[in-house]
């Protein structure tokens, strides 16, 4: 289990992190969301040891992270970087070796991964001649070549076309199901909702919500009462909630009130097509949390 505990970090006068903490279990995919400048990248760089926190700790399976433990992590930084003039396979292999693989193991792992990511034909090309999407795949291969024990990926999906997004999602799910904790940050909330078991929402250097996606939808944000009524005369729901009209249908969203009473008045006003609770989407929870 990867535990991030109460990280604090200042850059001069600016407080970047003000007590950030979350935990990711083995085999769990954790989505890290937040606005630009909220502290996602700083947190991930501290987890990777690229930056030092002013206080707080990162633990893996109960012990504070050491340099050797971090070498078994796979990391994809927000700012992508590769040796532009180095050949694809050579580069992936080099990183495998830096992470401690032997020569033959690194070569095999690199070959297998490039095959899987559809880059086998480009293995002897210099990185600089690849398209951006393919460079991103090489970046991913570099993060995965040593079969990392933990994956930390900063915005891995940004700049990818939908097909590449699906391919990357598959690879991540695969690693995750083999028991690796996966942390990734993203702005694509639908994607996070679809892929992640749990999420953490960060705003202004603080965690404003974190937990399993289902639980959050139940507990965080507003759960609204939603009614769809057909043929009602306009104005019947004044004062009850927010009404939108769609043809002869009216959709009413109610934040609070006596639901039975509202149902009765709706039935008097017209034909009730839908009556039920609507859980907030992750996007709604996010907007509310960071507002």
């Amino acid at each position: 289990m990867l535990e991030v505990q109460d990280l604090r970090k200042r850059f001069g006068d600016k407080v970047a992190l003000d007590g950030v903490g979350f935990a990711v279990r083995p085999g769990e995919m954790f989505g890290f969301v937040g606005a630009n400048g909220a502290g996602k990248t700083t947190t991930m760089r501290i987890v990777m040891g690229v930056l030092d926190a002013d206080s707080g700790e990162v633990r893996l399976d109960g012990t504070p992270l050491t340099y050797d433990a971090r070498r078994r992590f796979g990391y994809m930084p927000e700012e992508r970087g590769l040796y532009q003039k180095m050949k694809v396979a050579e580069q992936v292999e080099y990183f495998g070796r830096l992470h401690g693989l032997g020569r033959a193991a690194a070569r095999d792992a690199a070959g297998e991964l490039l095959e899987r990511l559809g880059l086998a034909a480009r293995r002897d090309d210099a990185v600089e001649v690849l398209s951006l999407g393919n460079q991103q795949r090489v970046q991913l291969a570099v993060a995965l070549v040593h079969s990392p024990a933990v994956l930390v990926l900063d915005e891995p999906f940004s700049g990818l076309d939908p097909i590449a997004v699906d391919a990357l999602a598959e690879v991540l799910k695969d690693r995750c199901s083999s028991g690796v904790p996966v942390v990734f940050s993203s702005h694509q909330l639908e994607l996070v909702e679809r892929l992640c078991d749990s999420v953490g929402i960060i705003a202004g250097g603080r965690m404003v919500a974190s937990g399993a996606v289902d639980e959050l939808r139940d507990t965080e944000g507003r759960t609204l009462l939603k009614l769809v009524v057909r043929g009602a005369s306009p104005g019947w729901a004044d004062g009850l909630g927010e009404v939108t009209t769609d043809g002869d249908r009216q959709v009413l969203l109610v934040e609070s009130g006596d639901d039975q009473e509202i149902l009765r008045s709706a039935m008097r006003a017209g034909e009730v097509e839908h009556f039920g609770r609507q859980r907030p989407t992750l996007a709604e929870i996010f907007r509310e949390a960071v507002a």
Binding site: R71, Y75, P77, R80, G81, Y83, K85, Y94, L98
Partner: protein
């Protein structure tokens, strides 16, 4: 340690394949070989052919006399290139273009000697005694001057490569994933070691090329005893100087994120190197001067002044040991300070990092 060697290995593999490296290697070898031929080209001739009309003068060293029946024939031999000059009736010298200075002196002294002999006077030539070392002085100065250029060129260009490599990794942000796999000192150390080995390879090519060319041209015969010592001292001082300047280059380089900024951020270092070069150049000409003697023990000047001084003159072993000891201390200090700056600055991309901020 393994990480360091992996990094060094990559540096060597990538750099050795670049055209820039191969060109500089070839050029430096070519330069040294060419220089070995220069004395031969500039040294003039060492045997002269003189056409003589009338009485044959007293024999002179390196001069062969050939008799011609008359002045016209002698002049023809000179203009046809058969003779370097013509001596007419022991009175007049004719030459094509300017008369070779040495030949002029030789003919003049032969002429005088003939006249003196004829008058019955006997002159015993002056006896010249020289010290054992003095005889090699000009050769040693020549070697020292060459050494200054070679050391300066190799030090500055190897250090520049270190700085450029640091900026390449910082600017492309690849340093973040590198630091997730290796420690900063391994990354920095690997780069310095790898590029340093390439610098040594270049130095070996220059020295080897120079020595081979020198024996091919016969220049090696004039070499002073103890050439082996000069070569060893050059290599050792190159290593020390390179360690010092490359650590500086890495520290300064890590402050910026773009290649265009490398030159300006390295200015203090290149100025220090240029100053060292100038001092070493004077030391080559005047190895026993006070300035040369003092600066040959002060780091980092000693990294170039001392090898040059040892090539140009005999330096007491005490001074060499003292100088090397001080340089090692300076190298260790700069490596520590450089690594500290590098550690703190290399992940701070964007605007140029202020040195004072990261040294605190």
């Amino acid at each position: 340690m393994n990480g360091l060697w992996l990094v060094a290995d990559r540096e060597i593999r990538t750099r050795i394949r670049t055209r820039g490296f191969l060109i500089s290697l070839g050029l430096s070898a070519l330069l040294v070989v060419a220089l070995a031929f220069v004395p031969k080209l500039l040294g003039g001739k060492d045997a002269y052919e003189v056409a003589v009309v009338g009485a044959v003068p007293v024999a002179a060293q390196d001069v062969t006399y050939t008799k011609y029946p008359d002045e016209a024939a002698a002049r023809k031999a000179v203009s046809g290139g058969k003779a370097d000059a013509a001596l007419i009736d022991d009175q007049k010298v004719v030459s094509e273009g300017e008369l070779d200075q040495r030949l002029g002196l030789l003919l003049e002294s032969a002429h005088r000697e003939g006249k003196i002999k004829a008058s019955g006077l006997v002159i015993t030539p002056l006896q010249v005694e020289t010290g054992a070392t003095a005889q090699y002085q000009s050769v040693r100065t020549g070697i020292a001057t060459l050494l200054v250029m070679v050391l300066f060129f190799l030090l500055i260009y190897s250090s520049m490569y270190v700085a450029m490599g640091v900026v390449e990794e910082k600017g492309s942000r690849i340093v973040e994933i590198l630091l997730a796999a290796v420690r900063p000192w391994q990354l920095l150390g690997g780069k310095i070691v790898g590029l340093g080995l390439l610098g040594l390879l270049n130095l070996a090519v220059v020295i080897g090329g120079g020595l081979i060319a020198a024996s091919a041209t016969g220049l090696a015969a004039d070499f002073p005893p103890g050439m082996g010592g000069i070569v060893i001292s050059t290599v050792v001082w190159f290593v020390l100087g390179y360690a010092f300047f490359s650590a500086l280059a890495a520290a300064f380089g890590s402050l910026v994120s773009r290649q265009e900024e490398v030159n300006s951020v390295l200015t203090p270092m290149t100025m220090l190197m240029t100053l060292t070069y100038l001092v070493a150049y004077f030391a080559a000409v005047e190895p026993e001067g006070t300035l040369a003697r003092i600066l040959s023990v002060v780091p980092p000047f000693s990294s170039m002044v001392m090898p040059v001084r040892t090539a140009a003159a005999d330096v007491p072993i005490v001074e060499i040991v003292l100088s090397a000891g001080l340089m090692v201390v300076a190298v260790v200090a700069v490596l520590f300070a450089g690594a500290r700056v590098y550690n703190r600055a290399v992940v701070r991309t964007g605007a140029r990092v202020k040195l004072a901020e990261v040294l605190r």
